[in-house]
Amino acid sequence: MSDEPRGASSDPEADPTHPEAYVLNMGPQHPSMHGVLRLKLHMIGEEIVVAEPVIGYAHRAHEKMAENRNYLMFLPNSSRIDYLSGMIYNIGYCQAVEKLLEIEVPERAQYIRVIACELNRIASHLLWIGTYVLDIGGVTPFLYCWDDREQILDLLDAITGSRLTYSYGRFGGVTMDVDDAFLTGTRTFLERMKSRLPEYDTLVRKNVIFIERSRGVGIMDRQTCRAYGVTGPCLRAAGVAYDVRKSEPYGIYDRFDFAVPTESAGDCLARYDVRIREIEESLKIVTQAVRDLPAGPIMPDKPKKKFKPAEGASYFAVEAARGAFGMYLVSDGSEVPFKLKLRTPSFSNLSSMPKVLAGTMVADTIAIVGSLDIVLPEIDR
């Protein structure tokens, strides 16, 4: 073990060829590495000198697939990009194509989409809270979070028939209408979640060990975020109120009253706080959407059968649970996309890791990487 005091070699430019440096391979098979990320850590003692994320283990060639099938056939892929908030990606892809083809979406479908997406966002954040606390050693909050998440999955299951990869959206609407049982269930869940948040607060947020493990750990400031294109809760934890739902409202998000929570510290604790508050905001949105849900059809009266957008490039961004998800779609006028670039938030978020991880302790590695809320299939696509 190195005798150097902690932080002595916190220079990201530090020499990995130092005689005491060794390489620790974390992942892709590691019990608590998130997905199949591999971190090649050059370390001295327990301190990381250079961290090098190695990705691509879950590359499924979504972008290549998109170029080989028509717009509709890519739909099931969309909820598999990020399987933890598949609804947002699925609906997002539908909205991108609808924009290209200028398809009108009925009001009721719009509201259902918002309800489904925001429930999915809550589920995704709940999962993050659970896994993050698990990363720093707390097992029980993890199961409480999963229990709450289970309620959401059951709700979504009731309307989509799936629990993870929903394929719920269609160009112009959604596949299934919501019934009263779903709405009642959603209201019950909203009440339940509101009573659960104080419990998380007591069990997790106020716990001194949790605070000590999270405060000042993995700081990503505004500059770092901007340099690496970090978006989502990680960016908002650094004090930037950037949210696609506000900066370029898509769907009907401009009709809802919600705030963009921010924190200033940019550390793991701030990221936790932002996500908890985002859950509260999402609860607010769902409450409003359930209240205002109009009656009517869920698909256009005469749905299009052929999807052939005009030639040209377009970009459509949605706020996914992990940040700004963008689709750069190029059409050559045929039924098949010429190019679909998926700008996934975790990709950019993870690319900041070499900078953030340098100089930290190996014990914090999992906590920091975990606090980003990365989903590897989303990064690898």
Binding site: D157, G161, S167, M176, V208
Partner: protein, 190 residues
């Protein structure tokens, strides 16, 4: 950021120490709820069967319509074309004696299916639906479902009945047609 609520390190120390007991209180509450109120969230799966939601998605199957006691697949291959996973193989066409086209082969490889439901959307005769299978498991990748299997035995009888139906329809039409030709639209719907 944490705001220092009490002055000094000692105060923080005790606040921190106290927070541990609050946490213990939360877990003990759940502990008590579970053992005394018997409120646990476990579903004892093989002993208890899950309740499947109405929208539950599983392997597709052909709907058995009560009027005909058979499916209505005409083998148009729309589902085969739209399937992103290329897991559907359909064949069919003209059958001797009836006007309606019939599927002669409908095979779905469930191992490849991604349950997206696009085939249900495009089916012109809406004869596809999700089955309620939830405990599929096996030892190899060969997971072909023959969707026509349950209909095959009845197929000759169906064709015979269909012939009668079509004849009856044609007769009804023939009777109607010469009488009055005013509403041109009604004649379309059988």
């Amino acid at each position: 950021m944490e705001t220092p609520t009490r002055t000094g390190r000692l105060g923080r120390f005790f606040t921190g120490f106290g927070s541990l007991f609050h946490g213990l209180a939360v877990t003990s509450r759940h502990f008590g709820r579970t053992i005394f109120l018997r409120k646990n969230v476990t579903q004892q799966y093989p002993h208890e069967k899950p309740t499947l939601p109405k929208a539950y998605r599983s392997a597709i199957r052909l709907i058995r319509f009560p009027e005909t006691d058979s499916h209505d697949c005409v083998g148009c291959k729309a589902c085969e074309r739209i399937c992103p996973s290329a897991c559907i193989a359909v064949d069919g066409g003209k059958v001797e004696g009836i006007k309606k086209k019939r599927a002669s082969h409908f095979e779905m490889d469930f191992a490849l299916c991604s349950l997206c439901g696009l085939c249900l959307d495009v089916c012109p005769t809406t004869t596809l639906e999700y089955s309620r299978l939830y405990d599929e498991a096996g030892y190899n990748r060969n997971w072909k479902h023959d969707l026509l299997a349950e209909f095959r035995a009845r197929e000759p009888a169906f064709i015979a009945e269909q012939r009668q139906r079509e004849q009856a329809e044609a007769e009804a039409k023939a009777q109607k047609a010469p009488k009055k030709e005013k509403p041109p639209k009604e004649g379309d719907a059988p």
